[in-house]
Symmetry: none
Amino acid sequence: MEEKSISDIIEKYLKQILDKSSQIEIRRSELADHFDVVPSQINYVIKTRFTIQHGYLVQSKRGGGGYIRIERVNLLDDVDMLDSLIQAIGDSVSERDAIDIIQTLYDEKVLTRREGDLILAALSKQALNVNDCKLEAQLRARILISIVNRLRYES
Amino acid sequence: MEEKSISDIIEKYLKQILDKSSQIEIRRSELADHFDVVPSQINYVIKTRFTIQHGYLVQSKRGGGGYIRIERVNLLDDVDMLDSLIQAIGDSVSERDAIDIIQTLYDEKVLTRREGDLILAALSKQALNVNDCKLEAQLRARILISIVNRLRYES
DNA sequence: ATACAATTGGTCAAAATTAGTCAAATGCTG
DNA sequence: CAGCATTTGACTAATTTTGACCAATTGTAT
């Protein structure tokens, strides 16, 4: 469907493993060799596709015996999940981050598909276009926090 | 129905595929090469012939592995009602008006109670507070229109 | 212990690869 | 001819890919 770039392929590979084991440890250069890319591309994949907004936690260690560990975290297990989410949102959110956050909330069954779609319509670049990228991202953060806070009152 | 322009031919080509597969992914430059036109003509064809009013949803991605995806979606029955609602919204909406509009959509069973609540959280004075009442009302109108437009179809 | 070499991973920015925008030029139709 | 649609291309924006340089950790020789 959408594995056009090598980054997409690496992402899919890692997520397939993470579907089963909740945590994996890789050797950066090994994985890079396996897909015939430079090592720093692994960092790129992780930075763009395994953020906390996506529901993943990443730890690493350098030097001999170094590794990169990716862990799938279940936000729902966290009693103050909404709090930590608001924490993660901060005071500025790009549209891409918003998509990731809504996707995670959907994955966690906090939102229905339709609710997520409607929220994304509200957070879209088009809707918030205000000729000031900074203000736009701040608005998006405030709206998102307002919605997340509204989620506290039911369900 | 003779296709006079190359745009018509490209449109027909794409719609023939979409008659069978409900979704296609193209590479802009490839398609442009195939019909021997400049890449931006593909954008023209899409913008004039594959709008949401026509029942198509378009998504795209730039950069390596980029694509343009066109999806045929099911338009809902009460599209006319949404049109007149958008007319009524205009380019500025107070929070009070927003509440009324959401209430109407709820009464018409276009929105669930929860969806309405979440939308109102997004449209609240608090969320949109931007120290400029006029801008705030304009933003509220744009967000509301974006949401209403999203209601035109189901994915 | 200390120094140095070896082994990992991290950062950052340039280059490459797509797509988007906009307006001028051109063509077509009433 | 006037007005609208189409075609074109220069400029812009987003995303990925690559590589040079940096930082941390471990192993080893003195």
